[in-house]
Every structure is written in C-alpha cells, then in structure tokens.
Subunit: 339 residues, 2 copies
DNA sequence: TAAATTACATGAAACGTTTCATAAAAATCA
DNA sequence: TGATTTTTATGAAACGTTTCATGTAATTTA
C-alpha cells in the first residue's frame, strides 16, 4: 500500500517478477540472463514503470557520471557555444554536465572546484584564468586554452596557425599595413600564440605590421585613442586589423564607425573565435573559426581516457577562415568557409 | 592504509575525532552538538580534508538537489542569459542545474524529461514548445512563457504591458505609422500578448498600425519582401517597427539597411527581450527588457514551494524599456533604463 | 543411470549518508 | 546524598543499487 505510492525500486520489480534482486540488476545493465527471466523482469519493469535511481548507482560505483565544466560565464557567445558542444559530447558518453560559471574570479573558481568535488564529479573541464588552482590528485582535469603543466592536458585551437592564416588572408585581400590588437584580460596562455603566428605570417608575406597590446585593466576605449592617433587627414594608416577575439573585433568595428572609417572598404577586420549572434546566423565579423565540436569531443575523450600516461600535454586542433562581411574578397567565395 | 588513500568518509572522521557517526553528521549539518565535540569533529574534518558525499545524502533523503532546465538551445543569447540566471538562483538554494538543450524538438524534449526523471531530479523548469509533455505527477514542473494549465505554473514577463510600452515609446519618439512584426515559431503562448498589448497601445495613442505575422516555416526573408512592398519612392511607409523579439529586430535592422533605410533616422525599431551581445555590452537594439533575474528567482521559488495549492497558474513580471541605438529620443536619457 | 561438470539464479553485504530509539551523563530538586 | 528530570551522544537501520560467494538446476560424460 505505502509501497505502491512511491517510486518503485528494484526490490519491487523483483517481487513483481518473482525473481531475485540481482537478476533485475543484470537485466537493467544488459548482462546475460536466461530468456524467461529476462521477459518476466522486462514486463515487471514496464508494468511498474520502473526507472533506475542513478544516484544510488553512483553511490555504489563511486561514480556520478557528472563532469563539471568551468567557464567564466555563459553569456558570452563563445563560452555558451563551447558549453553547448561539451554538453553534447558528454551526453554521447552518458555523462551529465554540471555547469559552473566562475565570473573569471579566482576565489569563486576555487569554490566551484571544491563544490564540484563535494558533488563527487568524475572530472573537470576548465576554461580558467586562474594559474594556481588546487585540484585533488585523483580528479581528472582537462583545460581549454590554458597550459597548466604537470600532467594536465590542454586542448586548444591551433592559435599559431590561426594568427598566420589571418595575416595571409589580409595579404590576399590586398592589405599592406596591418595591426594586431589584443587586450590582456581576454587571454593569458595559448591564445598568446595568435600574435606570434600573425607576426610570422606578416613577415613571410611582406606586410608592414604594428602591435597594440593593452593589459587587463585597460578599457576598450583605449583602442579608440590608439586608432584615432593613426588617422591623418581622415585616413587611417592601417588597411587591415587582426583582433585577438571576435568580441574585440566587434568593439573595434563600432569604434571604426565612430571614427568614420568604412569596414571593409577603408579597413578590413578579422577576428578570432567564430562567434555567431544567434545559432545559425552569420558570423559577426570575418574570423578565424575555432573547431568547437572537435575541441569539445577531444576534451571529453581525454578526460575519460583511463591511461593517464597516454595523455598528451597539449592538443592543437585546426582552424578555418570564414567570411563575415568585414573583409573584401571575391564574391564567389564570400559565403563559403574555406581553407 | 587502504582507507587513507581513498576519500575519507564520515566514519573516518568519527574515528579520528573519537566520536560517534551521528555526531559527525550533526556537526556537518549544523545541528546542536556539545562544544568540545564540535571542535574535535571540526579539527578532524580539517585534518582529513573531509567532504560530504552529496549523492549519498541524496540517496538517503530521496532528493538530488538537482533541477533540470529545459531550453531549446544555449546559443541564443536570450536562452543563455536565462540559463545563467536560473543557475544563479538555484545555487542560492543549494541546488544544481542539469541543463537540457532540446533543440526545440518534441521527441528530444520528451527524452530529456525521461532522462531527467531517471536521474531523479527534484523538479523541472521548462521553456518548451511542446504542448503535450508527459510529466510524472510527482515531479514539480514550472514553465516559462508557456501556459500549460492543469496546475503547472507559468512564469513570464508582462508581455501585454511590454507591447503597450513599445507602442507608447514609439509614440513618444514621434512615430505616426507603425508595424508589428512577428514570426510564429518564436512564440506560441504568452508572448502572443505582445501583439495585443501593442495594439492596445497604438489605439490609445492614436497610432496607425499594421501587423505582419509569419508562421513557423517562413524564412526571415519574407519580411524583406513585406518591407520592400511598403517602400514608395525610396521612402518606407512606417516610421516605427516593433519586433516580437530582439532576434527578429536584429534581422529586420539588417534588412532595412539593405533596403537603404536608416535606423533610427528613417525608421525606429524596438525589440523585445533585452539581449546583449557580450555580457556587459550595449543592447543590440532598443528593446523591452525582460527581468531575467526575477523570472529565474520566481521559477525556482515556485518550483521548491511545498504547498502545491498556493501555486498560481500565471505570474507576470514587470518589464522596462531600454535604449539600444535604434530609436530617436532625448540624449539626456539615452543611456538610462527607464520605466 | 550415476557422477562430474557447467550454467546461472540467489540474496547478503557494502557504498556513505541521516534518523531515531536507546543509553549515558549532567543538572535539578527534595 | 539519592532520586528525578533534562540534556545529549551513541550506533543500528535504512535509502536503492552492484557484486560476488553460494546453492541449485541443467547438461554432459562415462
């Protein structure tokens, strides 16, 4: 009577089917069981509408099938897209995502990690700005875009190649004088290589280039000052700009419009990330696209890989260039993702 | 020896502190315990770096402290912002968010619900397009923007007032002929009231208005056709447009630019939602802002409220208007969020 | 047919908590 | 001081699984 009203357990199924507890467990887990038993159990499961309590499973197995994902926030389109793909990749492996938005705050990041471990997550995927995180030895950890050394694998897009590609594209589209803009807070580690790659590309293609790198605390408006200082007689001395992120590119494009510079006629702009405003809409600018689905898959694969020894310290995945309206190229391939 | 290597349990803490199991439990849960006992237990917890296993707690309490959140996707800025605020509201109450991106697909939505119930979530918050979902009786359920009747509470922004406000603002800013644009797929239920509210506002302010409503399957380009049909001698017959979402507004603004109409000089545009591209950046258009933090808090409060009887069927929360560059108003208040 | 082997169902124990009936200690009162 | 009441620590039982040593039935072999 009382039993009937609450959610049925394996015990109830066993009683209903007239078999032992362990037999039900085997059927539920797909282990070999005699055919007649199997049908009886399956019928009972149907009849009672039984569903396993995965938290009891977790308690027994000392596993939770939950992975904590640490990202600064979920509102920035880059992060939300990343979270989406990680969630998808985890579901494929029957894992759940515990989303932790850290607000880029070290204290909160550490709190989240502790909380994550209290909840006994099976692993952590972290896009973090904190170089000194205390991770328990036995909690698998994979970072995105941040090499933390010491056996913690890092997955990233091929930032160097991406920077190089940006320079090559600007050269292809007729630029002669280009600039690289970066704001420190938006990166600390792997993405640094975007600069090196861009420099390399400029050199090999004979582009004259300039770098403007602001530190964390600087407001985006500093770039307005920098750019306006490079305007003489209403003409900007750059005809191409590579911004370290799409976010920065978006802000720079607005600045350029305020400064009466036309994009892409007067100056072409390329960003990095491959952000779209709404899922399937156009890119917000011409950009180097990160392979987010592949990055997500790789993180999950590494995280769940049993043999720690075989975990490489760094994996770089290939990037592509995509047109987003802020470069001048042939109409023929303006809608395509190429190279 | 073996014990030392694995994560410590309450038993270990009890042994270390020389107290009983129940005493440790009390200390952990903040129940009254003698001072000397308390210190001993706390010291032991510190020493062993003990952390509760919340899944064992959940098993015992038949609670998981997990709430499933069903949203179509996490990439649309409106949904991601919503997810963010729900996550925050849940954390305040010591609950976890299990994010379920349904892709607006009914089958997948149902699958997610079953999965959510397998994982024994304590409740579900759903922004769903599926009118016929099978929810188990005893799983608390709250919807956003969709009234499903039958004791399932719905939380929404005050869509009617929002529509009205949009009309009033357009009137305030000097519009005479306005239009309401809507695409069916983006709403089915509560947001319908935006139209009624807008109509009401237009009538009371003597605005001439026209409605253009496309159904689900129509491509956004249909609006381009509609708008270009209303251009005579290069002049659009509307001087104000209210779009049912910011997403649509964004697309319409791009269309208007293609049609050589200046925003806001020739035509003013107001959207609905209050989307920002990157967390703290400007709104992407002038808009009716939904109170997302309050909506999230309300959902969580209703979901966890014990007494089912006191759950109201519909709660509408107040909206505000915000400037986002696509309306012509006094400079003095252009940066403010106002009534 | 009897003995030896194989196949497979059984159910107790364990996972890490919380709860509650019990027992012990402390405080009060006569 | 001894009896009574109050306070508080104790630890067994239970939550819903999985696992594994045990027992039973079916099959094979001589």
């Amino acid at each position: 009577m009382k039993k009937e009203s609450s959610t049925p357990t394996m015990k109830d199924v066993a009683r209903e089917a007239g078999v032992a507890l362990g037999t039900v467990s085997k059927v539920v887990n797909g282990l070999p069981v005699g055919d007649s038993y199997k049908t009886r159990v399956e019928d009972a499961i149907q009849k009672l509408n039984y569903q396993v309590n995965s938290y009891a499973q977790g308690l027994k197995a000392n596993k939770t099938y939950t992975v904590a994902v640490l990202i600064p926030n979920i509102v920035d389109p880059f992060f939300s897209a990343l979270a989406y793909h990680i969630n998808t990749a985890l579901l494929k492996q029957k894992y759940r995502m515990l989303l932790c938005c850290t607000g880029s705050d070290s204290t909160q990041e550490q709190e989240y990690i502790t909380m994550a471990q209290q909840n006994k997550v099976d692993g952590i995927i972290g896009l973090t700005y904190n170089p000194k995180l205390v991770i328990e030895e036995n909690t698998p950890f994979v970072t995105i875009d941040r090499s933390m050394g010491a056996g913690i694998p890092c997955v990233a897009s091929d930032n160097f190649a991406g920077g190089q590609l940006a320079a090559e594209k600007l050269a292809d589209f007729g630029c002669k004088n280009v600039a690289f803009l970066r704001i420190g807070s938006s990166l600390s580690n792997e993405p640094n290589k975007r600069k090196a790659g861009f420099e390399n590309g400029c050199l090999s293609r004979g582009l004259h280039y300039e770098m403007k790198i602001l530190d964390d605390s600087a407001p985006y408006e500093e770039f307005e000052k920098f750019l306006s200082e490079h305007i003489h007689n209403g003409k900007l001395s750059f005809d191409g700009i590579f911004c370290v992120t799409d976010r920065l590119a978006y802000s720079v494009i607005q600045t350029l419009q305020r400064l009466r510079q036309r994009v892409p006629e007067d100056v072409q702009v390329i960003g990095y990330d491959g952000i779209r405003l709404f899922g399937n809409m156009d890119y917000i600018c011409s950009t180097i696209v990160q392979p987010l689905p592949e990055i997500a898959e790789m993180c999950v694969e590494l995280l769940l890989r049993e043999n720690m020894k075989t975990k490489p310290p760094l994996i770089c995945l290939p990037v592509t260039y995509a047109y987003g309206g802020t470069t001048s190229e042939n109409i023929s391939n303006s809608d395509e993702i190429q190279q």
